[in-house]
């Protein structure tokens, strides 16, 4: 009696099922791979936060798997996109800033978005498309470059002058306790623009900024590039006054850092964090869903509260005390500066060189 004939009915069924599964395996694997989205976004101290507030709920709602790539800064992520000609290995570049987005559009490396793919784009602040090209990405986080100071060491500053000419307000005691950032960090660029404006200049005339930087150098004790690199210097009391992102300021102050964040009299410069889809992304459909998810009002609210940032769309209800330090109204947004990121991108190399020559 042959083996096949010896099999009972249930064994035969099992055999047929397994054979069918083996034959279909490549298709099943492909189908599952399509349900995986690779997202490049926050890492470090924010990794757990972004996974808990944004990524896990997205996985749950859509029944998909998100692979979180937490590496790189905005410019490093764009360098990957450029080097791979739009196929950097992640489907969503979740944390680009306007200069990279503008460059990405010029170089044709970012997908053009419409409200058909990302319906929530229609709800964004009107200001959004003045900062980045229409449909170039989904700005999901709004923050600004604030001024922070050590409450136990210094009196409350009022103006950007108190940072750029600290000796005038605080005298010799502030020497060695001022921090400077390399212009590779947008925070530095924005602070330098404020310095230029204090002397009647701006992005078109940065000379007043260089004069202030030269004068301030004697008081600078710490020089870093990344915003996160500054944190140990805040914690050990080495730095007493600094420009700093409002979101990071809120996060660390909430965790007990003896600093206070202020909006100087001259105002602040705002920053959108933008999620984009590289042209070579493998799973564009799910990437668009993710971008739409980031702009969902409930996720916008949860993320703003967790990250200490502002929503990028009007109408998101926030507690009054929290909202007081955020940009949540049309009036506040109108007062906030958004310098031309195209100009910043084009001149950043020269500014960095000048900064390095002064600080070296």
């Amino acid at each position: 009696m042959s083996y096949c004939l010896a099999m009972n009915r249930s064994s035969r069924r099992r055999f047929l099922k397994r054979s069918a599964a083996a034959l279909a395996a490549p298709y099943i694997i492909t189908a599952r791979a399509q349900e995986t989205l690779v997202v490049n976004t926050q890492g470090g101290e924010y990794q757990e936060l972004v996974e808990r507030v944004v990524i896990r709920p997205f996985e749950k709602k859509f029944g998909v798997k998100v692979l979180h790539d937490p590496t790189g800064t905005a410019s490093q992520d764009y360098a990957k996109i450029r080097a791979s000609r739009g196929a950097p290995g992640f489907d969503v570049a979740g944390l680009l800033t306007p200069p990279e987005v503008i460059l990405g559009v010029k170089e044709g490396l970012l997908e053009k978005l419409t409200e058909r793919e990302v319906p929530n784009l229609r709800h964004l602040w009107d200001k959004t498309w003045q900062v980045i090209p229409p449909g170039s990405g989904a700005p999901h986080t709004l923050q600004y470059a604030a001024l922070v100071y050590h409450k136990e060491k210094l009196e409350r500053p009022r103006s950007w002058t108190d940072y750029w000419e600290p000796q005038k307000k605080y005298g010799a005691k502030v020497k060695g306790h001022v921090i400077q950032y390399n212009p590779a960090n947008l925070l530095s660029v924005y602070a330098l623009i404020h310095a230029a404006q204090l002397g009647g200049g701006g992005v078109d005339n940065m000379e007043p900024a260089w004069q202030r930087l030269k004068a301030q150098k004697a008081f600078v004790g710490v020089v870093v590039t990344g915003s996160a690199e500054a944190v140990p210097h805040f914690e050990n009391g080495e730095v007493w006054i600094s420009p700093y992102w409002s979101a990071r300021s809120g996060y660390y102050i909430d965790r007990g850092l003896p600093f206070e964040m202020i909006i100087p009299d001259e105002g602040v410069i705002g920053l959108f964090d933008v999620a984009c889809v590289p042209v070579g992304a493998k799973n564009k459909k799910l990437a668009y869903e993710f971008l739409n998810w980031r702009l969902d009002p409930a996720i916008q609210r949860e993320w703003a509260l967790a990250y200490f940032s502002s929503p990028t769309r009007p109408g998101v209800e926030l507690p009054a005390k929290f909202a007081a330090s955020q940009l949540t109204t049309q009036e506040q947004l109108a007062k906030t500066q958004f310098p031309d990121s195209d100009v910043i991108g084009a001149r950043r190399k020269d500014w960095t060189l000048k900064w390095q020559e002064i600080m070296a």
Partner: protein, 266 residues
């Protein structure tokens, strides 16, 4: 071999071609130019970055040979039953990532670090000293990180020396010092040159240690290349800087290798 050459030559050819292309507003154009090199050679900042890079390379090579030779000699000649353990201890730094080791130096050298606390505690200084960011801090960090490579290279050379040569020299009346200077040292010269080249080559192309202990205001070529490539997104100047680094490193390594070979042959 051909495959290795291909994968070495192709990226370098791309790098070379990018270094002669003009970049405008962060974008590569199709215009050929020498401006990228002119830019680098006419800015004191980058000329200093070249000089600093090679000062660091030479200093690290010399320090590692000076520290590594006695250690390698002891490890090779030791008859202790703990010899294996001693070799393992000498090479132990390789078990930790260079970033971890460098942050160890960061904790020691920063203004609020162990070195300042110690000097203040002993009353040797009144005010905290900024040991870093500095070229000295980069040299210390790299010399520590690369010492095991030099020790391994010199050990290999010393192990290859026939001990009978030393015995023969001493049996003919040479003192231990003279035997070492006239027999062991010349015969181990290829190992010294190899250890120096290895430490020098890794030091001039190192990124993590100069980035952490040097910071943005104390640039070397590797950190400047990284800045142009990934922060300023100006690939033309980044490529020109990389070409200069590769050409200088290869020329110096070739010269050192020739010197080592000649001394070894003598």
């Amino acid at each position: 071999m051909a495959l290795l050459l291909f994968f070495f030559a192709l990226p370098n050819a791309l790098l070379l071609s990018a270094s002669f292309v003009k970049s405008e507003a962060q974008q590569l154009t199709h215009e050929l130019t020498l401006e990228n090199y002119a830019f680098l050679f006419t800015r004191a900042l980058y000329v200093w970055a070249f000089i600093r890079t090679f000062v660091v390379g030479f200093a690290v090579g010399l320090i590692d040979v000076a520290l590594g030779y006695p250690l390698a000699y002891f490890l090779v000649r030791s008859r202790s039953r703990w010899k294996g353990l001693l070799i393992a201890l000498a090479l132990a730094p390789l078990l930790a990532s260079v970033v971890v080791r460098t942050y160890g130096w960061y904790i020691i050298l920063n203004r609020f670090g162990v070195a300042n606390d110690l000097l203040l505690g002993l009353g040797l200084i009144d005010e905290r000293i900024a040991f870093m960011p500095s070229t000295g801090a980069i040299i210390i960090g790299l010399a520590h990180a690369l010492l095991p490579y030099t020790v391994l290279t010199i050990m290999g050379s010393l192990q290859g020396i026939n001990p009978n040569l030393e015995l023969a020299a001493m049996s003919l009346g040479a003192s231990r010092t003279r035997t070492f200077l006239n027999v062991v040292l010349p015969l181990s010269f290829p190992g010294i040159a190899g250890g120096f080249i290895l430490a020098f080559s890794i030091a001039i192309s190192a990124y993590a240690t100069p980035a952490i202990l040097g910071g943005p205001a104390t640039q070397v070529m590797a950190t400047a290349i990284y800045g142009f490539m990934t922060q300023l997104l100006d690939w033309s100047i980044g490529a020109a800087l990389a070409v200069i680094l590769v050409v200088c490193a290869m020329a110096l390594a070739y010269a050192a290798a020739r010197l080592g070979a000649r001394q070894g042959a003598l």
